[in-house]
Symmetry: C2
Subunit: 411 residues, 2 copies
């Protein structure tokens, strides 16, 4: 059985990464930034942006790049081959109207570590850092489909499927799908990005940056985050935002990818791997309201002499829903106060990026410990669940329970 050797080999071209990332898995590479740095800036520096790879990073060399085409077609179960095959080159896509958007990407497994402490789950043990924000530049998906020349009848399909260049040992590419209804709605702001935080994912810039000695940082951004094209479906779980985007299929069926059909689905807390039925379960798409305390950290202490403690963090909700309120408690949830919100001017219905929050509050007298808790309310007045038990699921997805950090008070 030579399979394990083949898998090992497949990762030999993976890029170098920033030493600042905490690695959860080397092959495939999965890593998150330290929580203390994460909510420091509205846009996450590319080198600190969390990396969630399902497969080896595909090599996109100069030769491939010259002939790179985003392909699209119509295909259904009853078809023997794809119909209405279309394609656009990278230059074609870069000539379309430029679309720019700040959007937060969150892994469905963010905060899985806490969920597994309640009861074991299957999956990478993410802390609170598999979430990051970038300014994405590219073309709207609807503009790309229009430029490809699809006709109205082609859009009568139920789903739109996406495939990346990354493949498993059998040669099957990573894939996802979303409802056509969502894909065609311009207010959903779905785009194909060729820039991330202003760094062009183009060889020309890589060369320019090599001269400036930024090569490794940029190579990281580009290679780990989808160079040369990444699909951005803002407010939808990271797994649907296909990296190294190569192929689009209009179909009445969901993507046949393992990750669309046999993963990234939630079950009720009583369902285990013997009783789960992935076929009838609902695929995770938009993410629920979330908030996390990034400072102080769990192992830290505050000084009673300072009189005040500053508590900070991030809050985010899927589907463009903004954050209406972040409640902070210093006593484990007995009493609450409002945090100050900074949403960077986003509107309540198109908040594709997170809201950073902060509160500077007096340290209560005669306390040896502060039991910090945060919980956010989004623009639809959905709230985070208090306990993990009610949302526990076998894959450890979408843990958005109240975030708790206890710190010592010294002096």
């Amino acid at each position: 059985d030579t399979k394990p050797i083949k898998i090992e080999d497949a990762y030999k071209n993976d890029p170098e990464r920033s030493m600042a990332l905490t690695v959860n898995s080397e092959k495939p590479f999965n890593a998150e930034p330290p929580l203390s740095l994460l909510a420091d800036t509205f846009l996450t520096p590319n080198s600190l942006f969390f990396v969630r790879n399902h497969l080896p990073v595909p090599v996109v060399d100069d030769k491939m790049l010259k002939t790179y085409q985003l392909e699209a077609s119509v295909f259904d179960k009853q078809d023997t081959k794809p119909k209405h095959v279309k394609s656009l080159t990278l230059s074609d896509i870069k000539r379309l109207p430029k679309f720019e958007m700040d959007a937060t990407m969150q892994c469905a497994g963010n905060r899985r570590k806490e969920m597994s402490q309640v009861k074991e789950v299957k999956g990478l043990s993410w802390n609170c850092g598999s979430i990051s924000t970038a300014k994405w530049t590219g073309a709207r998906l609807t503009d790309i489909l229009k430029a490809m020349g699809f006709k109205d009848e082609d859009f009568n399909k139920k789903y739109i499927q996406f495939e990346g260049l990354d493949v498993d040992p059998t040669g099957t590419p990573y894939g996802s799908s979303i409802a056509m209804e969502k894909a065609l709605d311009p207010n959903q702001c779905i785009m194909v990005a060729y820039e991330m935080n202003g760094l062009h994912t183009s060889k020309k810039l890589i060369i320019k940056f090599m001269i400036l000695n930024y090569y490794n940082v940029l190579r990281t951004s580009a290679a780990d985050h989808g160079f040369p094209l990444r699909l951005i479906i803002p407010g939808v779980v990271g797994a649907r935002n296909v990296k190294w985007l190569k192929k689009i299929v209009l179909s009445d069926e969901e993507s046949h990818s393992h990750w669309q059909r046999k993963d990234y689905k939630c079950f009720n807390p009583s369902v285990d791997f013997n009783t789960c039925d992935f076929d009838t379960a609902y695929a995770v798409q938009e993410t629920p309201v979330q908030s996390v305390i990034s400072e102080p950290s769990a192992s830290s202490s505050v000084s009673a002499d300072d009189g005040y403690v500053t508590v900070r963090g991030y809050a985010f909700s899927g589907g463009g829903r903004g954050i209406a309120r972040v409640d902070l408690s210093l006593d484990g949830g007995e009493t609450w106060l409002n945090a100050e919100l900074d949403n960077n001017g986003q509107s309540p219905y198109k908040s594709w990026a997170w809201t950073l929050w902060e509160a500077t509050v007096p340290i209560p007298k005669n306390k040896k410990k502060l039991d910090l808790v945060c919980k956010a309310v989004d623009s639809s007045h959905n709230v985070q669940p208090e306990r993990i038990e009610g949302i526990w699921n076998l894959r450890g997805l979408l843990n958005n329970s109240w975030h708790r950090v206890s710190v010592k008070v010294e002096g």
Copy 2:
């Protein structure tokens, strides 16, 4: 002081109502259908549709109807009088493309009774029935605004305000506002309805139905639910769906109505009437995910001899989000099973109406009592909170905690 007498008089023209409704307040009239009947049908019969009036029902007689106009204008703080005043008659509106939609209406105070049992709140003591579903027929709001002849620049305002014919003792009308961004999005399906469940809110039909002896039922539907025009903003709390719609204002300001600015806002659980700041709080618009057990009822018992118990109810989420799952527990939340869902064919992103659910499950042996609990998950994977304490707010709004019903097992 003659004020109380004036208020009494103002209700003397209120319509007759179905005896089946449970009255929470006579003046203004507020009443809900019995929970046992509520989830029997996807569309709620008009006579059973919950009634939430803030003020006396305005009298719309033949004479008024003949000259009834929906008025609209642009107005801002710095303006001395409304600009670009436009209007449409009822016939104008009925000549616009007909738009039909099944939508659920839910009062922000639905399930307040349970919240006040945790700690006293201010507001009508609604049980679980201030929610109902109708097939609404009318014209899209965007078509109405277009037909009125507003120009693109008029839509650069931040808000759109609505006023009803119903007025308080000072003559100030009921009002609400929503973000212009939402109002202009055709996918939000906002409409002005002139029919409710196929019953035309027109005098001609009232006369036709009088002959059929349905006069009282129809008069109820029409008068209590906004005859001759009701604004429908599906997935948004009832209070913004202005009844007896008379006036639209495009403005950079929210409606100055008491109900937009000093009511229908949530605060954290520690805020009381001495510390609340309505000016900075977020106005309730889209409602969070909700579910309720409608059968069996709390006072009922089930027979162990039957072997099985059928549990039924409704689930609903705001903003068009569909229901992904309803979890049912028979043991107070220790173990869970999936209920069968009937969403009447609605899509996940345009589920403007509720999902009815049902589960027929074996009655566990040797149990004297079943502690039934339900909780729903919506298409954004938001969940209902387990306990009321974390969402408690001084006005008792948006209680969507897990719904619990305990029933005796006999025999």
